[in-house]
Subunit: 106 residues, 2 copies
DNA sequence: TGAGTATATGTCATATGTGACATATTATGT
DNA sequence: ACATAATATGTCACATATGACATATACTCA
């Protein structure tokens, strides 16, 4: 998927209530699955941060990033890669089994 | 991890026989886990391609890439992102459950 | 041995991701 | 209401990933 399309998707989704990204219109199953995965990792990251009682600024130091990028990670911003999300979760001490759990979750 | 460090790791690993990336010297557990994850996805991609009896060139058309990049994906080249590996696996019709399986596999 | 096919490796211009910064918006307390 | 902390959003220079291409190496099969 192109960046502009991803951005458009995100814009189109503002205020949209959904439980399953398959409901996004005009997206192939692969595109939906890819977006779903990022959203799952995003919320996992936020959940982990909150459970550790860290601010975004504090977490950004742990993962060697910036507060704004952490905010974008948690928001599922299209400019954030799965790599960064995975690296951040690993930096928070998340195990591979836990990671697998996130992805397997519908 | 920086690119140069990743490249160095790969070079250092040439001809190295290992079953667990934790054995890489000088890498933190997170770095090892990240590399392991990429290697698992790499071999999953290759296995899928072979089981479908596709050449790298054919697969490259399916995932809209190039033969050389497919080769790099399967080789665990440090310039290949998890994003690309995941997108490619999804394009091959791999389910979320299957991905989760790869993800969790030690 | 060769010719044909598949895979690997190197390079490069361009696309995309990143941290950092400024600033806006939203919470939380007093 | 006000101040203060936390989070969100926008932008940008720089870093990294990408597809494409050339070319090298490996693999079949005759």
């Amino acid at each position: 998927m192109t960046v502009s399309k991803a951005r458009q998707t995100r814009l189109e989704t503002k205020g949209w209530r959904f439980g399953d990204a398959h409901e996004f219109v005009g997206l192939s199953p692969e595109e939906s699955a890819y977006i779903e995965l990022k959203l799952v990792l995003s919320s996992a990251l936020k959940a982990k941060r909150v459970s550790r009682k860290l601010t975004q600024a504090q977490l950004s130091r742990v993962v060697k990033s910036s507060q704004s990028r952490v905010a974008k990670m948690e928001a599922g911003d299209p400019t954030v890669s799965i790599d960064l999300l995975v690296k951040s979760l690993l930096a928070l001490g998340v195990s591979r089994k836990e990671l697998a759990g996130y992805w397997g979750r519908a």
